[in-house]
């Protein structure tokens, strides 16, 4: 009988435009104009850092800033990734959002279109802007406005058990000489024997991963014509899911049980020698360092190559609330927070890739490229804005259509053509 007011559902929250609109009206009625402050300010910084090292780095940078800048004091508030969207939506509507907001580029568009985020275009220092590639700036540009500073990137790589590679006579590729998908499949086969699979594809939530990796063969899935988005699944889009499928059911080098795994679930099997290679996010390296048995040797293989190594860029970002009274001061803090030295520290703490070129170079130098940092930093060049990131309705298509269809396909219950048809038909229903 217990009722607990927890676990607010994001979709249901978003499905209340009437309520939101009236609440916004209410908020607007109670709000005064908020002029920019020139005197001392106290700004709230909502951070999503959660890893031990990253948290420590964030707090240290903020503490140092506060000591050196008595007129711009930053209050550090730790949020969490799983509820930040609802938290932000409520606080934006209520006119009580943090001044400086840590989030990710894919989620900024919705807030930017409602006018909750400041345009940083005129506030950004020129040298700071030049540090980050235009491809990455595109991911935070909404209707011509820069609504966030991208700072940490995530890429998909392959982690491998070095001893098993050596035993099979497989040479580790250099950061600038990645394996093609064919080479990867052939090596996975070599690494497969009774009690050992060449690869574990953890595909509990397959859509984002397939969308990201499909760019290796220019598989866009989403096409815009005359302002309208459609889903098309041709040979380019089929290439990656088909290759993964065939590794599991044709080559039998991919573990079928791993299909039900989430991101870190295959780790016990990987450490136990059951899986020789583990495709996954670049941040999995942290689990290698913290959780791998002491005698376990692992290596980071570069992102796989199709016609290119392209993957989707969805950087973590720092934005400024449109309601903030200290936008210029907030930008001063951000410029310091994300200077090359600090950015290298933050990236190291989160085991992610810094967007800034100088920070990347510092990181490779300070780590000597060990623990996969050479591969990680090099992967930044392959990250581009993907069409699905701009398509309105992607989120609904993903949860209602793509995820169940891909799960069926990877469970070998439907063919690649049936998958293609389902995705396209679903696109027509959702992207009206």
């Amino acid at each position: 009988m217990e009722r607990s007011p927890v676990n607010i559902n994001r979709r249901s929250l978003l499905a209340l435009p009437g309520l939101v609109a009236s609440a916004a009206l209410l908020a607007a009625c109670g709000d005064d104009d908020k002029p920019e402050t020139t005197g001392p300010v106290k700004l709230r910084f909502l951070s999503l850092a959660w890893q031990k090292e990253s948290l420590a780095a964030n707090k240290q940078i903020v503490d140092d800033w506060n000591k050196a800048n008595p007129d711009i004091q930053i209050e550090y508030v730790q949020g969490d990734w799983n509820s930040v969207h609802d938290q932000l939506l409520t606080s934006f509507e209520g006119g009580d959002a943090a001044d400086i907001i840590h989030y990710e580029s894919a989620a900024l568009g919705e807030f930017a279109k409602q006018g909750y985020l400041a345009d940083l275009g005129s506030l950004l220092p020129a040298d700071f802007k030049a540090e980050i590639s235009d491809k990455v700036w595109q991911t935070v540009t909404v209707d011509g406005k820069v609504v966030g500073v991208p700072f940490l990137l995530e890429s998909q790589v392959v982690l491998a058990n070095k001893k098993l590679l050596d035993a099979a006579g497989i040479t580790v590729p250099a950061a600038n000489a990645p394996w093609t998908w064919d080479e990867f499949a052939a090596n996975a086969k070599k690494l497969t024997k009774p009690g050992q699979y060449g690869v574990a594809w953890a595909l509990k939530s397959p859509t984002n991963r397939v969308m990201n990796l499909a760019l290796n063969y220019d598989g866009a899935f989403f096409y815009e014509e005359g302002g309208k988005w459609t889903v098309k699944v041709g040979d380019a889009e089929k290439a990656v899911p088909q290759r993964i499928h065939d590794m599991i059911y044709v080559d039998k080098s991919g573990s079928p049980e791993a299909l039900a795994f989430g991101g870190t679930d295959p780790l016990p099997g990987f450490f136990g020698g059951k899986y020789a290679m583990l495709p996954g996010s670049i941040y999995l390296r942290q689990q290698m360092v913290e959780q791998a048995p002491k005698d376990f040797e692992w290596v980071t293989l570069p992102a796989l190559k199709g016609t290119s190594q392209n993957q989707a860029a969805n950087p973590q970002t720092i934005s400024i609330s449109a309601d903030s009274k200290g936008k210029a001061q907030a930008m001063k803090f951000i410029a310091n927070f994300l200077n090359a030295t600090n950015l290298a520290k933050l990236a190291h703490g989160d085991w992610l890739v810094p967007t800034g070129k100088a920070a990347g170079a510092q990181l490779v130098q300070s780590t000597q490229g060990k623990q996969g940092w050479d591969v990680a930093v090099a992967s930044a060049d392959t990250l581009v804005q993907a069409p699905f990131q701009r398509a309105a309705g992607y989120s609904e298509w993903k949860s209602k259509i793509a995820t169940p269809a891909l799960q069926q396909y990877f469970a070998n219950k439907i063919s690649i053509d049936q998958l293609a048809k389902t995705l396209e038909e679903g696109g027509k229903q959702v992207l009206k």
Partner: protein, 278 residues
């Protein structure tokens, strides 16, 4: 016959034991994880007893996040919410049952209807009201929200208990010369004890576990409640720092268990008392 009876009893105890294991296993596993090193947590063949027990997860949980202060915040908010809910619900429930008017029927209907509104509808309006009243970022504001949230159900629950007390008992006490207050104190209150315990448990646990309002309303880190603080050990895509999270979660369950252990005795006593007198 005796053999069949013994067999039946043994089967009953076995079923009960299995049920207890089913209920208790997650807590035991949580306890086990909380004493494991990171490497041991991802072993291919995990063991229940940690091979190299460590307190490091508890140290991390308490030093990295201010769990003690968060626990105190949760205790203050949950206790105050439970007390206030019962304080408001008790006289309301008694009045609704004993003084039947058209209004009381409408009120009970409204209480039921109010339960149909999803929580999501209330979030933003409540946030705006509290902001206008200057109650965001205060424990009192959060307590008010929890009381508002728990009150309808608590009222509905308590009026069921009041209805279960025969009116004749009160009338008999009045005939024996007891004043209205004495009737309430000496006859009604003891019989209502299980209802009060159940209601306060409901209100306490609802407030103790609640996450989202605490997250949205309390901005200052020093006011954060336990669920909000514990969520900081969980990162992207469900990846969590399992050790500190298990240690913190285990400690977070203790007050609820203690609260329940203390009050459930009263719950049983009250039921028994009611049964005999009824």
């Amino acid at each position: 016959m005796a053999g069949v009876k013994t067999f039946k009893r043994a089967a009953q105890y076995l079923t009960l034991c299995l049920y207890l294991v089913f209920l208790g296993f997650p807590l035991v596993w949580l306890l086990s994880i909380s004493f494991k090193e990171p490497r041991e947590m991802v072993e291919l063949h995990p063991t229940l007893i940690p091979k190299h027990p460590t307190f490091q997860n508890y140290v991390t949980a308490f030093t990295e996040q201010d769990l003690a202060r968060s626990a105190l915040n949760s205790l203050i908010v949950a206790s105050a919410s439970a007390a206030l809910t019962v304080l408001l619900a008790l006289p309301a429930a008694y009045s609704l049952v004993r003084f039947k008017t058209r209004l009381s029927t409408i009120t009970l209907g409204w209480v039921l209807v109010s339960q149909l509104f999803p929580f999501v509808l209330l979030v933003i309006p409540l946030f705006l009201i509290l902001r206008e009243a200057g109650l965001t970022n205060t424990r009192f504001g959060l307590i008010l929200v929890y009381v508002t949230w728990s009150l309808p159900f608590a009222l509905w629950m308590l009026q069921g208990f009041v209805r279960g007390i025969p009116r004749e008992l009160e009338e008999a006490a009045s005939v024996d010369g007891a004043s209205r207050l004495q009737v309430l104190r000496r006859v009604v209150a003891p019989l209502l004890a299980p209802g009060l315990v159940a209601t306060s448990l409901f209100a306490f646990i609802s407030a103790w576990n609640e996450f989202f309002f605490a997250l949205v309303l309390l901005k200052s880190p020093e006011l954060a409640t336990l669920p909000v603080t514990l969520a900081r050990f969980v990162g992207v895509e469900g990846i969590a720092r399992l050790g500190p999270l298990a240690a913190g979660s285990l400690l977070a369950t203790l007050p609820s268990l203690v609260f329940f252990a203390v009050l459930q005795k009263r719950l049983a006593e009250g039921s028994l008392a009611g049964a005999v007198k009824g």
